[in-house]
C-alpha cells in the first residue's frame, strides 16, 4: 500500500513538473525533466504491472538515478522549484529505498523459485511466446532424456510434441497471442509427450501463461501418468467387472423374484401368506380366490379364523397354538364365501415375508377325495358286514354239509348192507334152490353193493380232506411210508420189489400225509401188479432248491393224452375189469398236496410205468 501511495505522490510531482508551471527553464532542464518523467513513468508502469522481472526493474532504476543526478545538479540552481524538487527528492529517495528492499525480497523469492524449479518432481518447462524453450528443469531432463543445454532455445514442439499434435500446438499459441483466448491454458489436460528416444509418454499437462515485459511466457508442468493410467485402467476394469456382476446379480435376482412370484401367482393350488401372530392374510393367489370365492380385497381384510365354520373356530385356536415349526399338514374344514364348507388339506411353512415372521399356507381342496374316502369306508364297512354274514352262512352251510355227510355215510350204507347181507343169506340158505346162474347174479348184486359202499366212503374222505384242519408237526416221511407199507401188507400180499430211499423230515399233518402215501403206494402196487418183475421206488431229489418226492413204478402206466383227467374226482384211466377203483384216490392226493402248499404232477407211458412227483413246501 505504501508503495502505491508513493507512486501516486511521484506521479503528482511529475504531473506538476511536466505542466511547465515554471517560468525559468532552459531547454536542458526540459529535456532532463522529460527524461526523468519517462523514467518514472516506466518505473511506475513496471511496478503497477507487477511484472517482477528483476533485470528490467534494475535498468529502469539505474536510468532514473542517472537522470536524477543530472536534475539535481542542474535544476536546483536554475529553477525556482527548489521546494518542489526537494519534496520530490525525498519522496523518490524513500521510494528508492522501498524498491531496493523489494529488490532484495524479489531476489530471495527468485532463489526460492529456482529451488522449487530445480527440485520439483514434475517436469517444468518454460517457453517464450515463440514457443522456444527457456527453462528446462532436472525433472524434465530425467523424464524426457534431454539435458537443459540441449533444449534451451529449441522449439518445444520439436522436442516434446508428437507429430500429430504439432500443428495444433503451434496454432494454439498463435491464437492465444492474438486473441488472448486458449482452451488449453490453466487447465490440466492429458496428452502424450515425446521422449528423446522417440517413445511417447502419457503426461498430464498444465500450461499457465505469464506476461513479462510485454512478453508472454508459458510455464508448462508435465507429470508422468503412465503408472496412474495403468492403475486407473485396472480400477476401471475392476469397476466394469463389478458393475457387470452387480448387473448380472440384479437380473438374476429379478428373474428369481419373478419366478417365485409367478410360481405363487399362477399356482393351481390355493396359496396365501398369513401375518403372525394375527393370522391376517398378507397375500393370496388367484387359485385361492377361485377356490374360496372371496375377492382379493376381501381376503386381505380377513384372518384365517374367518374362513372356519363357527363350530371349528375353538378347535382351530387350540390346535393352532400347539402347531410349531414348518411342514404342518392337516385336513381342516374351510368356509367358502357362499357359505359352503370344503375339506382343505393344508400344509403350513413358517417363513419370513417382507422381513416379518409369517406363515405360508398351501390349501388343497380334498372335499371330493374325502367324500370318496368316506364312501370307501362305508363300502368297506358294508363289505365287512356282508363277509361276517356270509361267514355265518358258510358256517351254517358247513354244518349242514357235515350232517349231510353223516347222513349219506349212515343212511346209504344201511340199505347197502341189507342188499349185501340178504344176498349172502340167499346164497347160504337157498343154495340148493338156486342154479349156478342164480348164484352168479346174486354175487354181482353183492359186488355192486360193496362197490357203492366204497364209493360213499371215498367221497366222504375226499370232502373231509378239503375242510378238516391240518395239524402240522415235524415228521419223518420214512416212518409214514413204513406204516403205510405195513398196513398194506396186512390186507394183501405185495409181490413188487419195493425200494425206499431216505426221505427226510417234513413239516406236515401226519394223518393226512399217511393217506397221501397210502393212495400213491397202493396205486403203484395196483398198476404194477400185472408186471412180471414189479418194481416200486420211493425217493426224493432236489429241484430248484426244493425237495421233490416221487413214487415210481414199472406198471401199466398211462397215456399222457388223458393227463388232464388224472387228478379229477371219479376220473379213471382204466376200466374196472382191468383195475378196480373209484377214481377218488388221486383227487384226494391232489388235495392233500395242495393243502400243504405243494404241487403234484405225474409222468407216464402206456405199458412203461408211471411216476408221481410232489412237493410239500409248507
Amino acid at each position: 500500500m505504501e508503495k502505491e501511495n508513493l507512486i501516486g505522490k511521484v506521479l503528482n510531482h511529475i504531473a506538476r513538473l511536466s505542466k511547465g508551471d515554471y517560468t525559468v527553464a532552459s531547454s536542458d532542464v526540459d529535456s532532463e525533466i522529460n527524461s526523468i518523467t519517462s523514467s518514472l513513468n516506466g518505473l511506475a508502469e513496471v511496478m503497477l504491472g507487477q511484472t517482477l522481472e528483476i533485470r528490467s526493474l534494475r535498468q529502469q532504476i539505474s536510468a532514473m538515478r542517472d537522470s536524477w543526478v543530472k536534475v539535481e545538479n542542474n535544476i536546483t540552481a536554475k529553477t525556482g522549484f527548489g521546494d518542489e524538487i526537494n519534496s520530490l527528492k525525498t519522496d523518490v529517495a524513500q521510494f528508492m529505498d522501498t524498491v531496493e528492499s523489494q529488490r532484495v525480497e524479489l531476489h530471495d523469492s527468485q532463489e526460492q523459485i529456482n529451488t522449487i524449479f530445480k527440485y520439483a518432481p514434475d517436469a517444468v518447462v518454460v517457453i517464450d511466446s515463440q514457443g522456444r524453450i527457456v527453462r528446462w528443469n532436472p525433472a524434465a531432463e530425467n523424464k524426457f532424456g534431454w539435458s537443459e543445454q540441449e533444449v534451451i532455445g529449441q522449439y518445444l514442439h520439436d522436442i516434446l510434441v508428437p507429430d500429430r499434435f504439432r500443428e495444433q500446438h503451434v496454432q494454439g499459441i498463435k491464437r492465444f497471442l492474438k486473441t488472448g483466448v486458449a482452451k488449453f491454458l490453466n487447465r490440466s489436460v492429458q496428452m502424450p509427450a515425446l521422449h528423446k528416444n522417440k517413445k511417447e509418454v502419457e503426461m498430464e499437462l498444465t500450461i499457465s501463461p505469464a506476461k513479462l515485459n510485454d512478453q508472454y511466457f508459458f510455464i508448462a508442468f508435465l507429470r508422468d501418468i503412465t503408472e496412474r493410467l495403468k492403475h486407473e485402467e485396472i480400477i476401471r476394469r475392476l469397476n466394469r467387472t463389478l458393475e457387470e456382476r452387480v448387473q448380472e446379480r440384479t437380473v438374476q435376482l429379478e428373474y428369481s423374484e419373478e419366478k417365485y412370484r409367478n410360481l405363487f401367482e399362477n399356482n393351481p393350488m390355493a396359496l396365501w401368506v398369513l401375518e403372525l401372530p394375527s393370522l391376517r392374510f398378507l397375500d393370496v393367489n388367484d387359485s385361492a380366490l377361485l377356490q374360496y370365492g372371496y375377492t382379493r380385497e376381501e381376503f386381505l381384510s380377513m384372518t384365517a379364523f374367518d374362513i372356519r365354520p363357527p363350530e371349528d373356530k375353538v378347535m382351530f385356536q387350540q390346535l393352532d397354538r400347539n402347531a410349531t415349526g414348518t411342514n404342518n399338514k392337516g385336513i381342516w374344514r374351510h368356509l367358502k364365501k357362499d357359505g359352503s364348507t370344503i375339506y382343505a388339506e393344508v400344509t403350513v411353512h413358517e417363513i419370513t415375508y417382507e422381513g416379518k415372521p409369517s406363515r405360508f399356507v398351501l390349501s388343497n381342496d380334498v372335499t371330493e377325495r374325502k367324500k370318496m374316502e368316506d364312501q370307501i369306508l362305508e363300502l368297506n364297512r358294508r363289505l365287512e358286514e356282508r363277509v361276517v354274514e356270509r361267514t355265518k352262512e358258510l358256517v351254517v352251510a358247513n354244518k349242514e354239509l357235515e350232517s349231510f355227510s353223516y347222513s349219506v355215510s349212515h343212511d346209504l350204507r344201511v340199505p347197502l348192507r341189507a342188499i349185501n347181507g340178504y344176498s349172502q343169506i340167499l346164497i347160504e340158505d337157498y343154495a340148493d334152490k338156486l342154479d349156478a346162474e342164480g348164484i352168479r347174479l346174486l354175487n354181482i348184486v353183492k359186488a355192486n353193493a360193496k362197490k357203492m359202499g366204497q364209493l360213499v366212503d371215498d367221497l366222504l374222505s375226499f370232502s373231509r380232506i378239503g375242510k378238516r384242519e391240518l395239524n402240522y408237526v415235524n415228521i419223518n416221511l420214512n416212518s409214514i411210508v413204513d406204516n403205510v407199507v405195513n398196513d398194506l401188507k396186512r390186507t394183501e400180499s405185495i409181490r413188487a420189489d419195493l425200494r425206499i430211499h431216505s426221505l427226510g423230515e417234513v413239516y406236515g399233518d401226519p394223518a393226512v400225509l399217511q393217506l397221501l402215501f397210502q393212495n400213491l403206494i397202493s396205486n403203484a402196487i395196483k398198476y404194477s401188479s400185472k408186471s412180471d418183475k414189479a418194481k416200486i421206488e420211493i425217493g426224493t431229489m432236489q429241484q430248484d432248491g426244493v425237495p421233490v418226492y416221487y413214487i415210481k413204478d414199472n406198471g401199466v402206466g398211462f397215456n399222457m393224452a388223458y393227463y388232464d383227467k388224472l387228478f379229477g374226482v371219479f376220473q379213471r384211466l382204466h376200466r374196472d375189469d382191468e383195475f378196480e377203483g373209484t377214481g377218488v384216490g388221486l383227487a384226494i392226493s391232489h388235495r392233500i398236496v395242495e393243502r400243504h402248499g405243494g404241487k403234484i404232477w405225474a409222468e407216464g407211458k402206456v405199458n412203461d410205468g408211471a411216476t408221481f412227483f410232489f412237493t410239500l413246501t409248507q
Binding site: 357235515e402 355227510s405 353223516y406 355215510s409 349212515h410 343212511d411 350204507r413 344201511v414 340199505p415 347197502l416 348192507r417 341189507a418 349185501n420 347181507g421 340178504y422 344176498s423 349172502q424 343169506i425 353183492k446 353193493a449 360193496k450 357203492m452 359202499g453 366212503d457 366222504l460 373231509r464
Partner: protein
C-alpha cells in the same frame, strides 16, 4: 324167574335188517340163547331200568353186553349211554357201539361217555358177520365183568 331175567346180550337196533343180520351172525356162534332185541332207545331204557313193559324185571340181572346203535328215533344211542353211565347200578355194563360209518361225529362222544368199544358195520356181509361174531364172542366168553355182590 322172569323171561327177561338172565339176558346176556341186549341188542338195541331200530333197523330190522341190521338187527336180523346181527342176530344171524351171533347165532352162528351160538350166542343168541340169551339175547333180546329192543327196537329203540326208549325200549332199551325201559328194559334196563325195569319200567313200563319191563316193570317186573329184576334190575340186578344186568346183561353181559349191550350192543347199541346210535342213530335211532325218539331216544338215540348217546342218550341211552348217558343214562347208563350216570346210574350206579348200570354204569359198569359193557357197551359196544355199533355205527354205520366212521364219519359219525358221535363216535368221539361215545368214548368220552364211556363206551367200551365201537365197530363200524361194514357193507360187506362177510366182514359184518366176522366183526359181530368176534365182538360177541369176546364180550360174552372172554370178558370178566366186575361182580355185583
Amino acid at each position: 324167574m322172569n323171561v327177561s331175567d338172565g339176558i346176556e346180550i341186549l341188542l338195541v337196533e331200530d333197523n330190522m335188517s341190521d338187527a336180523e343180520l346181527t342176530i344171524r351172525a351171533l347165532k352162528k356162534r351160538n350166542l343168541t340163547n340169551r339175547l333180546i332185541h329192543l327196537k329203540d332207545g326208549a325200549e332199551a331204557l325201559d328194559f334196563i331200568f325195569c319200567q313200563g313193559e319191563f316193570v317186573n324185571r329184576n334190575i340186578n340181572n344186568v346183561p353181559k353186553v349191550i350192543l347199541l346203535d346210535l342213530k335211532m328215533p325218539r331216544i338215540n344211542g348217546i342218550e341211552v349211554l348217558t343214562k347208563l353211565r350216570s346210574d350206579e347200578r348200570t354204569k359198569c355194563i359193557p357197551v359196544v357201539v355199533l355205527t354205520s360209518s366212521k364219519e359219525d361225529p358221535d363216535v368221539e362222544a361215545c368214548y368220552k361217555l364211556g363206551a367200551n368199544s365201537y365197530i363200524v358195520k361194514p357193507v360187506e356181509f362177510d366182514d359184518f358177520m366176522k366183526a359181530v361174531s368176534e365182538l360177541g364172542f369176546y364180550w360174552l366168553l372172554l370178558n370178566h365183568p366186575p361182580q355185583n355182590d
